[in-house]
Symmetry: C2
Subunit: 431 residues, 2 copies
């Protein structure tokens, strides 16, 4: 399958790089290779090694290229992007786009054109970057009447609110830093006044409730008036302030609104920090669900763009009954990568040792670990317990092969100074 | 499309009820109605009003019913369930199952039979109940090389660990309560020794890494030996203990292991409490993502079973280029439910009022709110601030229509006792 990429900025560059780097894995999943046949770009992207991929400055040369099956629109905005998408559809090409503004404002027109022409338009990357939230709502929760959804769907805004809360900084101070770091645009209006979030919320509400896209009816309120005093008072009441997009179905209609919101501090979504995004979706059968991940950035957004490309390729080229292989990869492309015996696994460890209350025990323990190359990260030694006179020693180690740890544990348990088997629990940082 | 349900226990009953209750919504999404043509059950389920749906005690009467297109296997276990699934495939019927043990142990055989016969086998409900995690990994993250995943994928175990931590209770004490509440089986081995989690992890690892199902190679360690002391010591180090399934790809092979694990307390997954499930998935392009929801129960599991049925129906009956409609619902089945003006929205409110330091201001504020039917939930009055002598009054209200609140705010701001505009932030409980 031949793909044309229109726009080689952050997301376009990420899309090209992911398609190149993961070409083998993607072909094992999709059942055939995906080739970037042509790129339209006004400037080259220093993050990309384009090799001999043809590049043009004329985006319509790509859109009208008869060899190309799928047009990937990563230009942004409503102007040229709309023309590109409509011309691609008119040419009978499938379209993948990450353009939330285009879909929220012109989606009804674009979808009607695509349906009339019998081509696909995919837009997973338009909402919440790398989180497959459109697929989750549109397919994964298709059994449900969706009651409401609420999301942190603008990373810049969440970064600002996180800093205001964690460090007591003012809105203006953090915004200036976000601009310096490249998280926020020179004109931050779209992000901090909620317009970007309203684009995404409009799309989510339509797929949740089955209503046409109605961006002009979304209520939008930004975060620029929030003070550090409000953040602190909210905390005193047990709440956090997040810039949420909320869509709710009532008997009278649909609420569609973006505004700063106090939410209880113990909710999972209240603990989504920095530039990360998360969307809660509540269905009548499933109850509350939550989807979390990077909402922006080159490769997280590319993850969704390329997933859409694979969806299109799977639909076009596979037996419909095996559109998605049972185990994600084509049955004849499974790997013989072995499952490792647990002795070969590497983790850090928590150890609790019940030591007899004698001098020198800790030194013996440390020596046994050290001789096997096991480094202690932290240690907690408690006073002797009243009932049995034993001293609990609790250790956290650095990462080590399980086999070495088993060997160390056997040596420790053989010590006369230690009572009974020790407790060993594995530790994962998950980062 | 005609569906036969085999097994009318918790999940079977939930599946029947969701298909009935949401029949209209589901038909708007799937493009045609889904009818339960026959049910096989040894006992009727008091939660279901079956109407005139035919019921038989002979499961093979359903499997061999020539009118049925899709067999939904909700019997559980490896015995009859395996025969049912293989016979359904041999009969050319598509299969939807929630049976993690069957897929983890006999999946390779079942998928080969299905591919040879050209039918679909869908099993979203086999892992993490209502969370669409298989779809997320298999399709949503298809662009990525998955590096690792880690999940809380057994609700019973997580309930026990949550109670041990929150209330300092022992494992045995909480297990007895979980059995009384029906969260845990009379024989809790599958749940607390990690076997159930290992079934689910085996499936997730295969779709993440593209390896055949190898349940027999999973390492499994339970939570029954954990003490309250370990839970407390972990906390002292800044960690929480969770029963995780971990699958990781290394250069040598795949780690596949279920065991108690210390994880940093500030990770989102460390804050997944009670019977809820969550899975973290880390891909090379997308980074870390997380999926959260109910991992068990009648309707959450039915949510995934019915989503799979809709997937099969969409594949069989729609134009492939419109397998999933752009806005989730068929274009001719969109709703004209209006988007409400924000004045009709109902939320609770946080108000911060800068009052002049005079007697009786609070009474005036309370009267204005009360006259408009706005109830105060809590209130915080600070001392006068040094620089301007103003007294901040912070209020949290119960839920009220925005129009009433706007009216109250206009009246409050008109008071001579109040300086400047007040700060109003909406409050959502998200429960």
């Amino acid at each position: 399958m031949k793909v044309g990429i229109c726009g080689l900025g952050t997301v376009g560059g990420g899309t090209f790089n992911v398609l190149q780097r993961n070409a083998v894995e993607i072909a094992r999943r999709a059942g055939r290779g995906i080739e970037v046949a042509q790129i339209a770009a006004r400037h080259l992207n220093p993050a990309c090694n384009l090799g001999d991929t043809p590049v043009t400055e004329d985006v319509f040369a790509v859109v009208n290229n008869p060899e190309i099956d799928i047009i990937v629109e990563l230009i942004g905005g409503y102007g040229v992007a709309r023309e590109v998408v409509l011309q691609a559809i008119a040419n009978g090409k499938h379209v993948v786009t990450a353009n939330k503004a285009l879909i929220a404002v012109h989606g009804n027109e674009i979808f009607a054109a695509a349906s009339a022409k019998g081509v696909m338009v995919a837009f997973e990357a338009s909402v919440a970057g790398g989180i497959p939230i459109i697929k989750a709502v549109r397919e994964g929760l298709a059994a449900n009447q969706i009651n409401w959804l609420a999301g942190i769907i603008n990373g810049t805004g969440n970064f600002i609110l996180t800093e205001m809360r964690d460090k007591g900084r003012t809105f203006d101070d953090v915004l200036a830093e976000a601009q310096a770091l490249g998280y926020a645009e020179a004109d931050p209006t779209f992000d901090v006044e909620g317009i970007d979030a309203a684009h995404k919320l409009t799309i989510l509400a339509s797929i949740a409730f089955g209503i046409p896209l109605q961006f002009d009816k979304a209520y939008t309120e930004g975060i620029s008036k929030l003070t550090t005093a409000d953040v602190a008072y909210a905390e005193a009441f047990g709440y956090r302030i997040k810039h949420l997009g909320v869509a709710r179905r009532t008997s009278e209609g649909v609420e569609l609104r973006v505004h700063p919101t106090l939410i209880p501090a113990d909710r999972l979504i209240a603990n989504v920090h920095g530039v990360m995004n998360a969307v809660m979706v509540h269905g009548d059968a499933v109850g509350s669900t939550l989807y979390y991940g990077a909402g922006a950035g080159a490769e997280p957004t590319a993850s969704s763009v390329v997933a859409d490309i694979i969806d299109v390729v799977r639909t076009l080229t596979t037996d419909p009954n095996n559109r998605v292989p049972h185990l994600a990869f084509q049955a004849n492309a499974l790997s013989d990568l072995p499952v490792l015996p647990v002795g070969q696994v590497e983790t850090a460890y928590y150890l609790r040792i019940q030591a007899k209350d004698r001098p020198g025990v800790l030194a013996k323990v440390a020596t046994i670990l050290s001789e096997r190359g096991i480094n202690i990260e932290s240690i907690l030694q408690k006073e002797a317990e009243e009932q049995d006179g034993l001293v609990p020693i609790i250790l956290m180690t650095h990462r080590v092969r399980e086999q070495k740890m088993n060997d160390a544990i056997a040596a420790l348990e053989a010590l006369d100074d230690i009572a009974g088997p020790l407790m060993r629990i594995r530790v994962e940082q998950l980062n």
